[in-house]
């Protein structure tokens, strides 16, 4: 298994496409950072336009923590594409290249091969997130410094104390990793149904886009299925940036407002991962290789 994984990782990281994602992330984050460095004031003014009518916010809103939040908010919508690029290609790409049949005539169990491939895509996903953390969080902290994290939620404002922020990012990144692994699992699962990689990549993105629309639209019919859509739960990382207050409306440092939401979302995502990967293994074990 370990050897399989090594081989799969070797293949993943020998491909130029893999580094394209890292380059894309670097560029995207760089653009956001540059934009906020040059015109950050405009951005915060815009975001807070409604709020600033009644309140004056004093302090360094545009700090590294805030920048990272903006980056995550913007980027986690696009990262699924970069993950699909690799995960949805894991099987279909090999089928397309013709290497799948050679691979499967080797004295290795199909389950081991498919699991190694999935774990390789998970590792790729995690590395991508670590890279986002390095570029989006650590580099932003370095460039913009740190301070309290000022966030506008849909119905209230949260100011997280500087000393209370970092662990929340750790949690948020872990959660985002789970969400992105779900994307990887979906892409991986879909990659069984095609012998070219474009199909599953587009299919993965389409599923995510459609489900996100369903998750966002406030229509009673959709509201029924919303709790079961993984896209509804993919943004639960934001829950890490909301804390409880006591009766005097004082922030309770180190608390999370809705820990149950995080647990529920994580469970839904895990169930999706297990279903997608389970189905993938099951299908792959009996798949006739005709490519």
């Amino acid at each position: 298994m370990w050897e399989h994984l090594q081989i799969e990782l070797y293949k993943v990281f020998k491909r130029p496409r893999t580094y394209l994602s890292f380059a894309a992330i670097t560029a995207l984050i760089g653009v956001i950072q540059l934009g906020l460095m040059v015109d950050g004031k405009e951005y915060t003014d815009f975001v807070m336009a409604d709020f600033a009518g009644s309140f004056s916010v004093d302090g360094k809103i545009l700090n590294g923590y805030f920048i990272c939040y903006v980056i995550l908010q913007l980027l986690l919508v696009h990262v699924p594409l970069l993950i699909a690029l690799i995960a949805a290609d894991m099987i279909s790409g090999e089928a397309n290249m013709g290497t799948l049949r050679l691979l499967l005539t080797k004295p290795q169990s199909r389950t081991a091969i498919v699991m190694a491939k999935f774990i390789a895509s998970v590792i790729y996903t995690l590395l991508l997130l670590i890279w986002i953390a390095i570029m989006g969080l650590f580099l932003s902290m370095l460039i913009f410094g740190t301070d309290d994290l000022f966030l506008m939620k849909s119905s209230y404002v949260v100011i997280v104390k500087e000393s209370d922020v970092f662990w929340r990012y750790a949690g948020a990144f872990c959660f985002a990793a789970l969400a992105m692994v779900t994307v990887a699992a979906l892409g991986f699962f879909l990659s069984f149904f095609a012998e070219n990689s474009i199909g599953p990549i587009v299919a993965t993105m389409s599923v995510i886009i459609v489900c996100t629309i369903l998750s966002t639209m406030n229509i009673p019919l959709f509201n029924l299925i919303k709790p079961y859509l993984f896209t509804t739960h993919m943004i639960t990382w934001k829950e890490f940036f909301d804390f409880k207050v006591n009766d005097a409306n004082e922030a309770i440092i180190g608390s999370i407002q809705y820990p149950d939401k995080i647990i529920r979302s994580a469970t839904v995502l895990l169930v999706h991962i297990v279903l997608f990967v389970g189905a993938a293994v099951w299908l792959f074990r009996k798949k006739d290789i005709l490519s």
Partner: protein
């Protein structure tokens, strides 16, 4: 005859008003005189923002004051949210200015202390402050409470609690309340699915906002430079 009666009545009223104003001006002047002993000060404080839709940690602030009307509230790191126009959360902001009419509005109590209610009307029409009501503890010459109605930013209420700096007329604690407007962020910017419980949302509506500053360690009359307030 009728006209004359009305005229006299009006005259009487204005005289009485003037008479009260005279008294109240004296009281205000005494309070002012007490406050004027403090040429400047700096103080450290802990600021708590209590607005239903703002979740904020307790922040540390530093305030600087220089007579007659220079005031600066500085965060000691962190981000603070203050109601607009409430930046000059200090008692001097109103009383230290000249050009107002003081009117007696009777007696009252604030937190068990008997106070004289004084309404201050600015003489100029164009000013930001429309009306200010002071609740003055006549015995100690301390302002216990003030209610200020502004042209742009609604009404603020300030309660002051005194302790060891009462002799200088400086409060240990200032409780600043205001009407927080319902606030809603346009969707799309937050990129989140709005699933906040309705009960919580309702709880956040139409509540009074409060900012509480607890002062510690005043440094009085150290000779602050004007540059500090720029």
């Amino acid at each position: 005859m009728m006209y004359k009666k009305i005229y006299l009545l009006l005259l009487a009223c204005s005289f009485s008003a003037f008479g009260f104003a005279q008294d109240m001006n004296a009281l205000v002047s005494k309070v002012k005189a007490k406050l004027e002993k403090v040429k400047d000060y700096t103080a450290n404080g802990k600021m708590k923002t209590d607005v239903a839709f703002i979740k904020a940690p307790i922040g540390r602030v530093k305030v600087f004051y220089k007579s007659p009307n220079k005031f600066k509230l500085q965060r000691d790191g962190g981000i603070s949210v203050l109601p607009k126009g409430g930046v000059s959360i200090n008692i001097g902001s109103m009383i230290m200015q000249s050009g107002f009419v003081a009117i007696d509005a009777g007696l009252s109590t604030v937190g068990g202390t008997a106070v004289r209610v004084v309404k201050l009307l600015p003489e100029a029409d164009a000013g930001e402050i429309i009306l200010s009501t002071l609740y003055i503890d006549e015995t100690n010459l301390l302002i216990r409470k003030s209610v200020t109605t502004t042209r742009e930013n609604g009404t603020y209420e300030m309660e002051l609690y005194y302790g060891q700096y009462a002799a200088y007329g400086l409060p240990d604690k200032v409780l600043f309340s205001f009407n927080a407007k319902d606030y809603k962020l346009p969707k799309g910017i937050t990129l989140e699915f709005d699933d906040t419980d309705k009960a919580i949302k309702d709880k956040m509506k139409g509540k009074k906002g409060r900012v509480e500053i607890n002062y510690t360690a005043y440094n009085i009359n150290t000779g602050l430079s004007d540059a500090l307030f720029k």
